[in-house]
Structures are given as C-alpha cells and as structure tokens.
Subunit: 236 residues, 2 copies
DNA sequence: CATCTTCAAATCCTATAGGACCGGGCGTGG
DNA sequence: CCACGCCCGGTCCTATAGGATTTGAAGATG
C-alpha cells in the first residue's frame, strides 16, 4: 500500500513526469480519515504516532503532520505530551448542540444557494438524491457508508453553491462531526424513507427558485432529523 | 483560542502536576500566529519551513507541525511540494462574503447567549467594551492592535456563551479571518465611535434578557459595519 | 493483603542527515 | 550578442537517532 518509495530503481522516470509527486503525509491523512469514518478506530482509543507509522510502513514524521491536521477537524484530540486519542462519542447534549448549529447555518445556505443555482448544480444535487435512494442500508457500518456519503455530499454541495467561502468553512466545521453523530448509540439508518423524502423536498424547493421556500424546506428537514434521532436515541 | 498557553515557569503546583510541559510546536504555533496577527508577515509572502526554523532556533520538525495546524485556519495556504504562503489579501468580494456569513451566524449566537447569560459573563462583556473604549487608535498597526483584540474578544465571548461547541467552531472558522479584513485596503479605524456605540447597544440588549432584542442588535451592528467598510473602501 | 518502589518498555518530542527538485548565476560555444 | 549546459544554494520531504517522559507491572515491605 506504500508505493512512492524513495528507493527508485536504476533508471529515473521513463518518459513524462511521474503522474503527480505525492506527499506521504497526504496519504497518511486520508488513510486515517478513512479509518475514522469507517469506524475501524473507535472513539476513545489512542492513536499512537509510532504505532501507526509502523503499521503504514512510514516514518513518524508524516504521521505527526497528518495528525496535526486531523486535530483541527475535531476527529482526534491531542494532549500535550500524551499523544492523540479518537474524540469521544457524542452525548445527547452534543447532538442537540449540533442540530442547533445546523439549524442556524443550513437554511441560510439553502437560501443563498437557491439564488445562484445553475442547471449543473441542480444535476449534481439530483445525483446525490438518487445515490441516496440507491444506496444499500444494511446494519453494518460498511453497508450504510454509501448512504452517509451521499447524505453528506448533498448538504456539502448546497454549502458550496452559496459561493461563499466562509459559509463553506462554517459548514465544514460541523460537517466532519455530522458523520460521527450516527455512532451516537449505534443506531443504524432507520429513517431513510423519511430522510429521502425530505431531501427530495429540499431539492424541489430549490428548483422552484424561491429562496424562502428552500430555506423553509431545509429547516424542516433538520428539525425532523433531530426529532427522529431523539426518538430513536437509546435510553440511558 | 489561545488557552492552554504553557505558562512560563510558575513552579510549585500544590498538588497538581507541573503545568503541561512546553511542547516546542505549540510555541512555534503561537509565534507564527502572533506574526500573522501583527501583520509582520504580509499576505502573499512565503513562509519557509527551514527559514523560520533557523529564525526561531528550532528544528524544522516543530515548524512543520505548527504550519500544518495553521493551514486549517485559513491563515496560510500550502501547495503540495512548494511550501506555505500567507493567504492573500481580502478582495471586496471576500469581505462581502465574510459579512454575509457573520450576519448568518452572529445574531444566532447573540440569541442563544442571551438565554443563558450569567452575571459573570456579563461582566466579561462589559470589560471588553470598556477596553474597546480605552484602546488607543493610532494609524499604525501596533497602535490599534488592542482595539482589534477587544473587538474580537467581545464577539468571541458571545459565541462561547452560547454553550454550543459547534457555534463556537463555526464562529472560529470566521474569527481568524475577521482580524485580517482590516488589512483590506489598509484603512485604519475610522468608525470607532459608531462601533463602540453599537457594541454597547448589543450589551444593553443582552442585559435586558430578551433574546430577540439581542439578535436584532447584533444584526444591526454587523450590517452597519458592512455599510461603513464599503463606504471607506479604497477605489479600485 | 495492601501499598510503595523500581525498572523496563512504549511513547512522545526534537534534532540531524540525506535524497530530490527548483531557480539563479556563470562560463563556454555558436 | 545569444543559447545552452553546469554548478550551487535553497527548499521540501522523509528517515533515523537519541533524549525526555509516561505508563504499567514486577518485586519488596509493612
């Protein structure tokens, strides 16, 4: 899994440049990100620098750099001289706070995106909703991973279509966490039918070109997600 | 967001451990952050890893880690194998986008903060406004630095008093940039009197305990800041 | 049995070395 | 005069080495 080894063979690159000289730290970053998203690294477990370096067959330096970037996303936390740990699971309060923040930001995104929507953007959103419908929804994490990806993509696309880099940044500050809230209690996807219908409603509202309708549809979606998740939450 | 600052050397912790031993990378991070905030590093200039390592008399490894963290704040940008550069200056469009985002987030923060305001919080806010009034307002950056710091502190305190970690994160995604927009055209502080009055109005609205009043006052403040800045903007 | 000491392994953190690439100055040939 | 190649310093990137610190457990002691 670790090509790009510096120990090149006798001859240099054959013709043309090597596709794109890659930075090892980027690979480590994506590898760790995938491990976190897939749930292979459970919340609370330590992420040893030397350990992952050995596991990925690289030196600790790129691992250190990758973890420094991950820390700012909230996926891992760092204690001064003790190393990195996967951020703890969401509590019910965390979830409520997340939904409060989404309710403040995402309707605004929908309103702004609606004003400058292009047919190309609309097609991308339709594809995301279609992927949402087609995605498998099994009980294991690997199975509903595609579902979560399409869900996140839908919301991220709307954020990007605002054309406002700061709204994208604000959404991104939440986005990384949005994936993880599903681990909250380990409940799977039980509300797919409702969620798909709401996404479709948001899409339709955007297509009408009325910003207020779009914002209202998004607000309703977020509120309903919150309501269902609270209902499904495991009893403490 | 510069808590966890490794204190100099206050020894003799009664029963606790010595304050987290200083990690060199943290020191480099704060040093770079200060240089960026003070304008000693102008936008567009390259930030050499080896160079700053020599300048700060450390090895490149901590510098690399500090820059990896800074990248996620938007203060510096990294090109794959070419190094880091200070993010470019704000254009008029960037500024408009920033204000749009602030207008979406900050009134919500004011509303939420108002609902759970304590006397202690109120005192901190009053201190921030007082500092704003007392701060010098000269033409050079070093002179109105205290003013900017108090301004940012006021808004950050409100974000933190929402008690919602995600609203803090969303604000922080903007906060690092808020400092820099003053460089937009190099205009100094020309609207201090108006701004101070508006901050006072926000504070008064918070003190009444009416969340809607607080949100409205904050929205008015942000809108007026936008209006004044556009009026002051240098002609292209 | 409980508690403290001590030691060894693991880990974090920093420094240093070396490979690969880029850009500029300089000399030689046309 | 201009073009081309070469050298060289600078930089990024990764690997490796070694000091500093925490942790966990074995062993000693009351």
């Amino acid at each position: 899994m670790q090509f790009a080894s510096t120990g090149s063979h006798s001859e240099g690159r054959p013709a043309g440049r090597a596709v794109s000289r890659q930075v090892l730290a980027d690979h480590v970053y994506e590898e760790l990100l995938a491990s976190l998203m897939d749930g292979r690294l459970e919340p609370g477990t330590a992420v040893s620098i030397d350990g992952t370096a050995r596991e990925l067959d690289v030196s600790p330096t790129p691992v250190r750099e990758a973890l420094a970037r991950l820390e700012h996303t909230g996926m891992v936390r760092r204690v001064a001289l003790k190393g990195y740990r996967v951020a703890p699971v969401f509590t019910r309060e965390d979830f409520a706070e997340l939904m409060e923040a989404r309710l403040a930001i995402e309707p605004v995104n929908a309103r702004l995106a609606c004003a400058r929507l292009t047919p190309g953007h609309l097609a991308e959103l339709e594809r995301a909703v279609a992927d949402l419908k087609d995605a498998p929804r099994g009980p294991s994490f690997a199975e509903f991973r595609g579902y979560l990806e399409a869900d996140e993509r839908f919301h991220r696309l709307i954020a990007e279509q605002t054309g406002n880099q700061f709204m994208v940044a604000a959404y991104a500050a939440l986005g990384g966490q949005i994936q993880r809230f599903r681990l909250f209690g380990g409940v799977g996807i039980t509300d797919a039918d409702h969620a798909i219908a709401e996404h479709q409603a948001v899409l339709d509202a955007l297509a009408t070109g009325d910003p207020e309708k779009a914002a209202a549809a998004m607000a309703e979606h977020v509120q309903k997600v919150r309501g269902r998740a609270i209902a499904d939450a495991p009893a403490e």
